[in-house]
Structures are given as C-alpha cells and as structure tokens.
Point group: C2
C-alpha cells in the first residue's frame, strides 16, 4: 500500500468508527486494537473534530498516546487544547518523554502550564529538562528512556534487568544497552542480541564494545542524522560534557529529522524560506511571508540587470538584434549554475566535500563549464547561421560576427555559471551561513548580471563600429 | 566528531597502520579491533592501494567483510578485482547476503563468475536469487537473514532458537521476529523485547501483532523508505505474491536508500540527470554526459525566447527601453515558478499531495502568485518612477505608461510562474514521468517564453502608437 492508498483507506474507515462511537463506544478499543497506531492516526485525521476527542477518550491512555504521537502537529495541538486538563494530562503522561516534550512545546502557554502541573512530578521534571534543549539539537531529539548498566554487572543480572523493564511495559529504547564506568560515564555498548548470545558468568565489560559513537547534547540534528546513517545505528547516545549519558536518539527520530532536513533543503534551493508545516496546512499569509522575502531580494538583485543594460544602451540602439539573444544567454548561464550548485550543496550535506575542497572543485568546474559552454556556443552559432541561410530571419550582412559574439558569450557565461554556482555554497558556508541557501534563483541572479556584462563586452569588442 | 573531523582522523591514522603492516602485520587485527568498521573503512580509503589489500588480508575474514561493506563502491570493486579469487571469495562469503549481492553486481562479468563459483553453494544460490531483483526495489534492498517462527511455537522455544542463532554468530536481523501460518505465509510480528517480556508457556501467536506492515518484492525503494519512516520500523518484511516472507529490509538500508533518493531529487531539481557516484569520484566524461543533455534541451527550449522576441521586433525598435526590463521580468517569473515547484515536488515525495489534489493546489497558487506579483509589480513601478524623478535615467515623456506596463507584466508573469511551477509536477506525474524532473531550470524556461509574450502583449496594448 502506498501513501495515497493509505489515505483512501482511512477515509473509508472513518465513517465506520464514527458509527461505532455512537452505537457502542465501549467496543471501540477492542475493535481497533489490531490497527497500527500510524494507521489509526490517519483515520483520526479524517474524522470531524468532536469524534476525534470521543475516540481518543474511548481508547486506553497508552494506546491514545501512541495515536497522538503519529498525528500531525496541528491536529495534536488542537486536540490537546480542546480537551479538559485531566483528560489531556492522562494522555500526555503516557507519551514517550521526547514526544511529550515536543507535544507540549506547541501548546499555548496556559494550557502547557496546566497540563504540566497535572502530570506526575517525575514526568514533569523530565519534560522540563528536555524542553531546555533546542528542538533542532541532539538534546531536543533524544528520549531519556534507555537502558544502561554498570560495566561490572554480570550478563545474567543485565539480562534479568532488561526482562524486568520489558515486563513492566515501560517504553525504554532497548535495542542497544549501554555500560557506564564507576563515574557514570558512557563506557561501552552492546546489542540485545549480543547480551542474549553471551556466555553465563561473563561480566558485561568483557563483551561490550568500547568504541561507542556518541554525540553532544548541543550538536545539530544534521550531525545526529549523519552519525546514525554512517554507523548504521539503531540508537545514538547523547552525552554531557563529562561523558555522562543523558539520553538516546532512536533511528526513527533520526529518520524523521532527515526528512525534515531534506524538505528544508529543497525549499531553500527552490529560492524561499523553509516552511515549518506541510504545504496543504500552512495559511495564505504565512506562505506569502515565506516566499515574498526571497522573491523581493532576488528582484532587487535583478534590478542590476536593468542598470547593466542601461550602461550599454548606445550599443543596443546600434544593434537591436543583440537583444534577441539576451534571454537565451542569461538562462544558459543560470542553468549551468543551478546544476553546479545542486551538486555541491548535496555533496556538502553528505560530507563528501568540505570547505577545504574549494580549490579542487574550482579546478574541476572551470574546464567542465568551458566544455559545456562550447557545446551550447556551437549550437548558438548554428542557430543563427541556419536561420540566416534558410531565410527564416535576417541578422544583417555581418551575421557571422553576430553569431560569433553569441557563441563566445555562451562559452564565457556557461563557464562562469558553473564556477559561480559551485563556489557560492563555499562562500556562504565560509561566511557562517547555510550553504543550502545557495538557491537556483540566487545563482541565476548572480549569473544574469555578469552574463549581460560578458555579452555586451564581447559585442563591443567584435562589433564596435560595424553594425549600424 | 563531524564528518570532516572523521576524515582528518582517518588521514592521521593511515600512516600508523601502514607502518604496522610493515613491521608487525600479525598485530594489525588486534591493534585495530576496537575501531568501528565504518571508521576503519575511512582509514582504508586514505591508504595506498597495495596497503589496502595487505590490511584486509591481515584481518579476520568477518572483520574484513564488515570493512568492505562500508567502503565506497569504487574502492570495494577495485579491491575485489585486484585480489586473488580465493582471497576475494573468503571475504565475500562473510558479507551479509544483501551487501554481497550489491558488491558482486559491480564486478566485471569474469571476476563475478570466478568469485561466485568459489563461495559455498548456499551463499551462491542466495546471491543469485537476490541479484534477480532490480537494485532499486524492495527485493534488491532486502537481506534474507531474518528470524521467523511458526505461530504455534511457545515463547520458550522461540527464545531458545533466537539465542541459538545469536550464539552461532550469524548475522540475522533480529530486532523483529516474524511468525508464519501453516502455509508459511507471514502472519504476525513481535519485537525481541516483547518476546523477552512474554510470560512463560504462552504461544507466540498470542503475543504477536497481526497487523504486519509488509511490502512486495517488486515495490519501488521509495515505498520502502516511506513505509519504514511512517511506521517507525526497524525492519520491513518483503513478501511474495502468496504472502510468503522472502526477506527484510533493515532500517539502515532504508536510510541509505532515502539518502540516495534525496541526492537524486536535488540533482534532478538542479536541472541535470542524477549522478550514480559521489561528486568527487565521477569522471569528467560521465559528469559531462549527466549535465549536457538537460543543458542542451533547455537551450533548445530557450531558443523560443529568441523567436518570441523576433515576432515583436517592430515594437522593440519603437521602444528600445522595453528591452531594459526583460531580464528582470523573466527572472521574476522563473523565481516564483522555482518556489512553487520545489514546494510541490517535495509535498508529493512526502505523500502530502497526490495527483487528485491538482485543482486544490491551482486554486491556492493562483491568488498567491497574484499577491506576490503585485508586490513585485509595485516595486517595479517604483523603480522606474524613482529613477525618473531623481534624474538617474530618462525613460521618456510616457515613463508612467512604461512603468505601468512593467508593473502589470510582473503581476501576470509571477502569477503564471506560480501556477505553471506548481502544475508542472502534476503534468509530469500524470504522464508517468518522475515529478522530480520538474527542475528549477525547466520551469524557468517554460515561464521565460510565456513571460516575454505577456510583456510584449501588454506593451502592444498600452503603448502602441505612443512611443516613438
């Protein structure tokens, strides 16, 4: 089943569940028991608001909390705002610590305070601790429920405590078990399978791996994603400055962060600020704000093209036909720049390319740009010569010079586009900005102004005094 | 440590390991034992080729196989090609089935046959079965080592068999345990923690979840990524048509597939074919091929701008100043189109928007585009009026009409850009093409031609006969 089929299915199921809520609310929990929480969340999204609250109230608290975790931020926030405080607190208390913090963060100040003061004290303190971290850091992504044992523990004792925790129905991430030294610092890691495979009587320290990949609580979520992906981790431990383990980021949260990072990158590359919400949920005014800023900035930058053309107006008057090729020329530069930029920002995001590689890249992109420009230059010359020869348009007696001007310009503009497009992410990154802000429209704007200058300079050199 | 620090560290370690290989090759395995295979792979990438083979030969086969799995495709292929067949077969036999198939697929026909005929028969048959699946499908991503038990098994027996497999040092993905019915069809799933938590004497069928998310072997890797991410899975079972379980895709492979999908999407959006290799590893000729095709196609499309301008040459002769604003106008259309396209292709990739939503999107983008165009239109008018009033440039006696022409054109072009940019992914998708091919340059090209036509038509209407 793909996503649209899932959505269609949710739309089908929603009326049944509404009916059930009316006729026999007590059977809802049992009837929906085998539905995956993610699917039930899809059904919830398709229900009218009053049925959503009725459904969540009809489910056991831990099940309702599961469903809440899969809801869109908007709906989850709306539901928690609308519920009574005890009702909301009952569900929130059952959520995993990281999701609980995320859910509470979105609420109105007042609702937030009310709910927080109603949930059990331990959960409250933990939530407050998690909320102190920036949402886009390792600390903001981590959950505090994980299993760690002192390294002197025996395999039997460790296994018994894992079983005890699993039986208690608690939600600890337990694919990996961490070991700590006498000062409580993260020392080693082993998987549940390694624990199961270990011989009786062994100490955990003997079977744990001592090279543990970990991350600082303040690290950017991009680093979390990269480490999880590079080391094929199921969970990444988050440590404080002394090396004490604070929590773990589980792979599903790393994957969600990766999806968000990528959405931001694509939107930035498209030439706008990243949206914080899904396309269909963001309002008109918010969408306008996200788009107008860059659009205006690029527009102001593009005004330089008008100024550039004004400088060359006397030539333009002499050789109006030069204007015919302006869009063709500047767009070719923009396109080659867009290609180069997309390659470099992605290679940077993957860590394949770092700041120090700029010179290596420049030496690659310049000859490549010249070769690509040569291809387009030849095509441009052919276009003019063929049109002239077949009588499709008259570029005048000196059409070969016009063709040469256009051809040479294309070589220069495409080469400049490749070079500028590949260097812009380095410049931004060096200036402490996000290299992903090097959007296709920004590169195009940069290249347009230069492209016109190249064009008119070549024309001035080749055609001066010749064209009337 | 971030990626560039890791790379720096690998460069530091490489000379030490080279030294060790010379002085005391037998101690290499023990000295590097605690280094994560991913880090050791980084060190290997920094070594000269002859040391790579020496190092891999000095490690135990299962450790060398681990390192091989983390190497870049290029180096892994080169190493396997260079080794003797028995040497290569020894390592390949130790790889997980999915990685083994991936590694062999890259080799020359002859080396491939040699190695395949040397590894144990069971591994050979399994590899051939896996290689029958397209690399970009669920079948191509799955591993065949997983744990499944008949649903009538007791908890004790299941746990005992899990421990047996773990102790045998085999590499089965065992975060999830699958249950099968009497016909061998996938019936349920439970996690290792649920197995550990289960009371003694229970049958597996009583504790397993019956709603198992699974995928067909022929499903696209995009679907694998979406299911793994939506359901927060650690492993996704792959089934045949009868519902029999063929293998599982583990979350680390789904994450790798996601990274590759992202890279392809960004490169396509930049206006080129997706590369199959990292930026720094692809050759000049291959890079040229990936870029020149789209660049030429866009160039040919852009030639229509020249044709459009030729149609209006008589007006251009009358009102040369109109040409001054051409780059400004067409780029504004391209930029708004690029924004809209990036939003829609991403929303489609996330499943937020489906084909059926096109009308909803169009009704959103048109007013938004008009509002954005109005902002730019007002700025455009101001630009002309201010320059005129302050004597920075003389747009003639009818400069207000010129300003109005530019302003109205901007409204039309930006609105058209938003609409065309948002609809293009739907058109491509409807035509059975990848909506991600709706690149920023393609949208810009589309909008440029229309933008010029809008501009000159408005000019013809407002300025005809007025400007000399």
């Amino acid at each position: 089943m793909n996503t649209s089929e899932h959505r269609a299915l949710a739309n089908l199921l929603a009326p049944d569940i509404q009916e059930l809520l009316k006729t026999s609310p007590h059977s809802v929990a049992a009837e929906t028991e085998e539905i995956h929480a993610a699917d039930l969340a899809d059904v919830v999204e398709a229900l009218p608001r009053e049925s959503v609250i009725a459904l969540l109230s009809a489910l056991p608290a831990n099940r309702a909390a599961d469903v809440l975790e899969y809801l869109s931020d908007d709906l989850r926030t709306a539901v928690l705002e609308e519920m009574s405080t005890p009702q909301a607190a009952r569900l929130v208390a059952e959520m995993t610590p990281d999701d609980r913090a995320d859910a509470l963060e979105e609420l109105e100040e007042e609702t937030y305070e009310d709910i927080l003061s109603t949930i059990p004290r331990a959960a409250r303190e933990e939530t407050e601790r998690l909320l102190a971290y920036d949402q886009d850091t390792a600390g903001g992504l981590m959950t505090t429920e994980f299993i760690s044992v002192p390294e002197q523990t025996t395999v039997e004792d460790a296994l018994a405590s894992v079983r005890r925790i699993a039986r208690a129905g608690r939600r600890e991430a337990m694919h990996a078990i961490y070991t700590t030294d006498e000062h409580g610092r993260l020392k080693g890691v082993l998987s549940l399978r390694e624990l199961l495979a270990a011989g009786e009587g062994a100490k955990i320290a003997e079977i744990a791996w001592e090279e543990v990949v970990s991350v600082a609580a303040s690290a950017d979520r991009e680093e979390v994603v990269q480490l999880t992906s590079n080391y094929d981790l199921i969970a990444l431990p988050v440590v404080d400055e002394a090396g004490g383990i604070l929590g773990v980021v589980t792979v599903d949260d790393a994957m969600d962060a990766m999806v968000e990072e990528h959405t931001e990158d694509v939107q930035k590359f498209g030439g706008m600020e990243a949206l914080d919400e899904p396309y269909l949920q963001i309002g008109f005014a918010a969408m306008m704000r996200k788009r107008v800023v860059w659009l205006v900035a690029l527009f102001v930058g593009q005004m330089l093209t008008t100024s550039a053309m004004q400088q060359f107006q006397s030539q333009l008057t002499q050789a109006l036909m030069l204007t015919l090729f302006i869009p063709l020329i500047i767009s070719s530069g923009g396109n080659s720049g867009s290609q180069a930029t997309s390659l470099i920002i992605r290679a940077m995001a993957l860590g394949e390319v770092t700041l120090a590689d700029w010179w290596r890249i420049a030496r690659r992109e310049l000859p490549l740009g010249l070769a690509l420009g040569l291809v387009l230059g030849v095509l441009g010359v052919l276009r003019i010569v063929v049109w002239q020869q077949f009588g499709l348009w008259d570029y005048g007696a000196h059409y070969m010079l016009v063709a040469l001007t256009v051809g040479m310009t294309l070589v220069g503009v495409v080469a400049f586009g490749s070079l500028a497009g590949s260097m812009l992410p380095f410049v931004l990154s060096r200036a402490g900005l996000d290299p992903a802000s090097a959007s296709a429209p920004l590169v195009a704007t940069l290249v347009d102004v230069t492209g016109l200058t190249i064009y008119f300079s070549i024309a001035l050199f080749l055609l001066n005094g010749i064209l009337a």
